[in-house]
């Protein structure tokens, strides 16, 4: 076999493969994987918190919360901070939704 003959054989494009439902299968798997990733992102922090809960100093936290709650309730700065936090979280969610819709 000459070099030219070998080149002709080697450089011939590979046979075109029909899709035959391949892309639909991939799309279904992609959707499932994305669903699981979302659930994981949502529930992993909750699960981590639940796993850590028994090791948290419950009494100390309760005492601290009782001491802080009247101060927080009467503080305008704390109320403003919490308001900003809630607004930021809500807007970020909206922003993500708008981004995924694009």
């Amino acid at each position: 076999m000459t070099d030219d003959e070998l080149d002709t054989l080697l450089c011939a494009p590979l046979e075109e493969l029909a899709d035959d439902g391949f892309s639909v299968k991939v799309a279904a798997r992609t959707e499932r994987a994305a669903w699981w990733r979302e659930r994981f992102a949502l529930f992993a922090p909750v699960a981590a918190a639940a796993a850590l809960a028994p090791f948290l100093p419950g009494e100390e936290l309760t005492r601290a919360a009782l001491r802080l709650s009247p101060e927080l309730a009467n503080s305008g700065a704390a109320a403003f901070g919490i308001g900003v936090l809630v607004l930021t979280l809500a807007l970020e969610k909206r922003f993500r939704e708008a981004q995924s819709a694009l």
Binding site: L6, D7, L14, F22, V26, T30
Partner: protein, 157 residues
Amino acid sequence: MSADAFTRLVREHQSKVRGFLRRLTRGDAALADDLAQETFLEAHRKLAQFRGDGSFASWLCGIAWSRFLMERRKRREEPLDQADDAASQDPRPGLQAKLDLERAMARLSAEERAALTLCCAFGHSHGEAADILRLPLGTVKSHVLRGREKLKAMLEP
């Protein structure tokens, strides 16, 4: 990226990715399609990492190659026996030559198969193939040269 847009991308590139993987898996269509599905899933997950330096198809081939390497680590490539070599004869001259080529290709190392497919059938430069296979340029060049020499010897009448 919307699901529809990604499905369009898959439809556009599936033939190249599956064909590349079939070469790498020595014609094992089922394994090649499994690996191709994994390739597209990984591409979907890492879409944000695609920098656009090369073509999207090249990026996909890079993912397909690393998927193939992971699979190869799991199960060792078995050497072909002579019975496989003598299998399937096609009376049509053009097709027979292609069958002979595929059979000879199957006897090359995976790196040689990948380098030859990327540089010859897909028309990539040696540099592009080196990026896709994450190998030094010189190594890719020698895989292409050595692969060609081996094929030529195997395809001699």
